[in-house]
């Protein structure tokens, strides 16, 4: 079982600028996790708790995979870590697993780093005998990730970039609109990515009554239902995304309220990031010293 010495990173590599894949030793979580679930991590003892979806797991090796986009202080610091470094706390698996059964034809849409979250469920859909149509996209070529992985589990795969630098020029909803216009049979859509993208997908599918699921990304603290920081409005009701989600029926989600709530700490986030960017190396060294000290102390016991 995991001790307080933290969780060892066994592999770390960039998939795209600012998007890094980590394989981390967490045998218990690796054994238990199901597609759609997430972990909460805390890098060091002054760190914050941040939720990250489990992109893959290898129970035999006892590792979980997370894919992190460096946006704010914590994710940028995380992306400076390398193989052999340790993360102080990882708790999980959290949240409800994705609902996976044989629906028929399923369209799985991943926007940017959202593809990492959609991928394990896409694979599970495929294994359950569904006809999987993948649509992945990003603002630009660099931000299209997991193309090979998605291709391996999709019967058809469409790629879009906002600037046309790769795949077709446009948004991920464009191939979806086309499929609908072609009267293709679609039994379910799973869309994961930035809020405006998930909202756009919901607007496309709603008039056609195509069941659409989104994975919401509200701010979280504990991830176990004790604070309600992650509350979202679904069907006019307050729901806690960490225990009742993170996946919800896209046609019932109040995206507007979610987007506004996610901007709640913008000023704080800016300040933390600016302060960090003045000397990121110092922060990294401070935590690695801490880790080494902890290791030394544990050895002496």
């Amino acid at each position: 079982m995991q001790k307080s010495t933290g969780f060892e990173i066994v592999e770390a590599r960039f998939l795209a600028p600012d998007i890094k894949l980590f394989k981390i030793k967490a045998p218990l979580i690796a054994e238990k996790q199901k597609p759609g679930q997430f972990v909460i991590i805390r890098i060091h003892d002054r760190g914050e708790r941040v939720p990250l979806t489990i992109a893959d797991a290898d129970p035999a090796r006892g590792t979980i995979t997370i894919i992190v986009q460096g946006i704010g202080k914590t994710t940028k610091l995380l992306n400076m870590l390398e193989s052999g470094d340790r993360i102080m706390d990882i708790v999980g698996p959290l949240g409800h697993p994705s609902e996976v059964e044989k629906f028929g034809t399923v369209v799985v849409i991943g926007g940017g780093v959202g593809t990492a979250i959609a991928y394990p469920t896409a694979r599970a859909f495929k294994q359950a005998g569904n006809y999987v149509i993948g649509i992945i996209g990003g603002r630009t070529k660099d931000l299209v990730i997991l193309e090979n992985e998605m291709r391996a589990v999709s019967d058809e795969l469409y790629i879009t970039t906002d600037d046309g630098s790769y795949g077709e020029k446009g948004l991920v909803i464009d191939p979806l609109k086309r499929l609908i216009a072609e009267k293709r049979k679609i039994d379910r859509v799973l869309a994961i990515g930035p809020i405006p993208m998930m909202r756009a997908v919901a607007e496309v599918t709603k008039p056609h009554n195509i069941k659409t699921i989104v994975s919401l990304n509200p701010i979280m603290v504990d991830g176990t239902g004790m604070c309600g920081g992650c509350r979202v409005i679904v069907s006019g009701q307050t729901r806690f995304a960490c225990v009742e989600g993170p996946e919800f029926d896209a046609h019932l989600v109040d995206f507007d309220s979610l987007q506004k709530r996610n901007a709640m700490y913008r000023e704080f986030e800016k300040l933390a990031l600016e302060r960090f960017l003045q000397n990121p190396q110092a922060e990294l060294e401070a935590i690695s010293h801490h880790c080494k000290l902890q290791e030394l102390l544990n050895q002496q016991k």
Binding site: K32, E48, T74, D89, R231, F268
Partner: protein
């Protein structure tokens, strides 16, 4: 405490109110004891403490504690003991204090109470032990809580509390779900019986409400750490970052442990269910306090977790959690921190001492007021709380008069932050994944008189069986459960 006079004292109390400056060497008569006045608790001045998170109460100096101990009449049939949920032998430990025999006092106290430094700080003594003190009939009761705290603090500074020799191993394994007051108390008792005890905690730090809920200024976190370290030294294993219901199910635990004690609390916050509740700047008290206490958001940006700073903060509720949130907001720089409570001051469930401290710190009170809507601007930031005035009606199920809205009485409290402290419910995360566990209508686990659930060998206690209650009641459950679990394991050993 039925009077506020105990608090109307200078920060540093007089050495002795009456009867001279020395502790007398020969036993006092009852008459002499009755003459000694209750010794006040030295505290940080209000204007200073609202600018820091340091502890408000400073603890009794040794000589003052001995004077206070002399006030105890050493009743034969001591009523105070029956008021204590863990039945501390109060007269005996106090007698040791009066005699200056602090090691004996500590031994006596720790024998009955696993976490005295905590209970001495957070128990509502005025409704438990002290309310039954015979001296309270005429004047002020013995300051049992202050003395308990004094002895515990003294013991931590002066004694080596690791057990001299470990108990004989029973060969039995017990799992405890939740490292809050109930779980930690049960762990401390079970380890004494020689069981192999593992506590599973979902958060990254053990302590439950003691670390995420109760603020530093009321309960310094180092005290919780000391208690936890003492348990670890005694052999208790604590596994953080494990969520029972997700990481393991109860069924899986049953395969690896001979008995289980579920003490996961009532951590699910209740919201008001009024329009605007999802606006930016509305927190559950759990979230606000977790950010500030557990995540040390008051140190941002030295600590990474942010928290909003309200200038005008409305806190809805009248319990200890509401007081903690309002006093925390004040320390976070709020110019106005306003308690909004739907009944009157006398129905407030918060401890008298906390209400008094809040008043000293300039917390404002709006009584007989209930929110009907959270107002916000176009960017969804809170701008105020629309409220309705109430009057008291007939008693409700809790025995307290029901607040009845006064039609046409709506008004606004301008504010930029709202903290909802109207209670918590049982968290369904664990129980959902264990369908065999019998629950009541409120989602709380049903137990028999031995605290055993509908699953043999699985016990439960604390807030998960009684709803949001007090630290000491949870500890009482932990103590009782440990005893019943040991009896169950002994029976099982015979039949097995």
């Amino acid at each position: 405490m039925n009077s506020d006079t105990a608090h109307q004292t200078p920060a540093v109390p007089p050495a002795l109110a009456e009867g001279g400056a020395q502790v007398p060497s020969k036993p006092l008569t009852a008459r002499e004891r009755m003459k000694i006045q209750r010794q006040p608790m030295p505290e940080q001045p209000a204007e200073e403490r609202t600018r820091n998170f340091a502890e408000v109460n400073l603890g009794l100096p040794e000589r003052i504690a001995m004077v206070e101990a002399e006030r105890c009449l050493q009743c034969k049939d001591a009523k105070c003991v029956s008021g204590c949920p863990v039945q501390v032998d109060i007269p005996r430990f106090i007698q040791h204090v009066a005699q200056g025999n602090l090691a004996a006092a500590a031994e006596c106290l720790l024998n009955d109470n696993a976490l005295p430094a905590i209970t001495g700080r957070v128990c509502p003594q005025e409704t438990q032990c002290e309310v039954r003190c015979i001296r309270g009939a005429k004047g002020l009761p013995v300051a049992i809580g202050y003395l308990e705290r004094f002895v515990a603090d003294w013991a931590y500074r002066n004694l080596d509390l690791t057990p001299a020799k470990p108990p004989v191993p029973s060969g039995r394994k017990v799992a405890i779900v939740g490292a809050g007051p109930a779980g930690l108390t049960a762990a401390g008792e079970l380890i004494k019986h020689g069981h192999d005890v593992t506590v599973f905690e979902a958060l990254h730090r053990p302590g439950g409400v003691l670390v995420y809920g109760i603020p530093e200024f009321r309960l310094p976190k180092r005290i919780v750490d000391e208690e936890v370290n003492r348990l670890k030294a005694a052999g208790v294993k604590i596994e953080c970052n494990v969520v029972i219901g997700r990481t393991y199910t109860i069924d899986e635990l049953r395969r690896n442990f001979d008995a289980i004690f579920i003490a996961n609390g009532a951590g699910l916050p209740v919201f008001m269910n009024v329009p605007g509740e999802n606006a930016k700047g509305v927190y559950s008290a759990n979230e606000y306090l977790t950010r500030v206490n557990l995540m040390a958001a008051y140190k941002f940006p030295e600590a990474d977790t942010p928290v909003l700073h309200g200038r005008r903060v409305a806190v809805v509720g009248g319990g200890n959690v509401a007081m903690d949130a309002a006093r925390t907001a004040k320390r976070m720089g709020a110019e106005h921190s306003i308690i909004v409570y739907r009944r009157t001051r006398s129905e407030m469930p918060a401890r008298a001492e906390e209400v008094h401290h809040a008043e000293q710190e300039g917390i404002e009170f709006e009584f007989l007021v209930a929110p009907v809507e959270v107002l916000h601007d176009e960017k969804n930031w809170v701008t105020g709380l629309r409220c309705q005035r109430m009057k008291l009606g007939e008693p409700d199920a809790s025995g307290r008069p029901r607040p009845v809205p006064i039609p046409g009485s709506e008004f606004e409290i301008p504010c930029d932050m709202v903290i909802v402290a109207v209670g918590t419910r049982a968290n369904p995360l664990l129980t959902q994944t264990c369908p065999d566990l019998k629950l009541d209508k409120r989602g709380q686990i049903v137990v028999d008189e031995n605290l055993m659930t509908s699953i043999p060998g699985v016990f439960a206690g604390g807030d998960i069986i009684r709803g949001a209650a007090t630290v000491i009641l949870a500890m009482g459950d932990g103590k009782l459960a440990a005893q019943k679990i040991s009896e169950y394991l002994a029976r099982k050993a015979v039949t097995a």
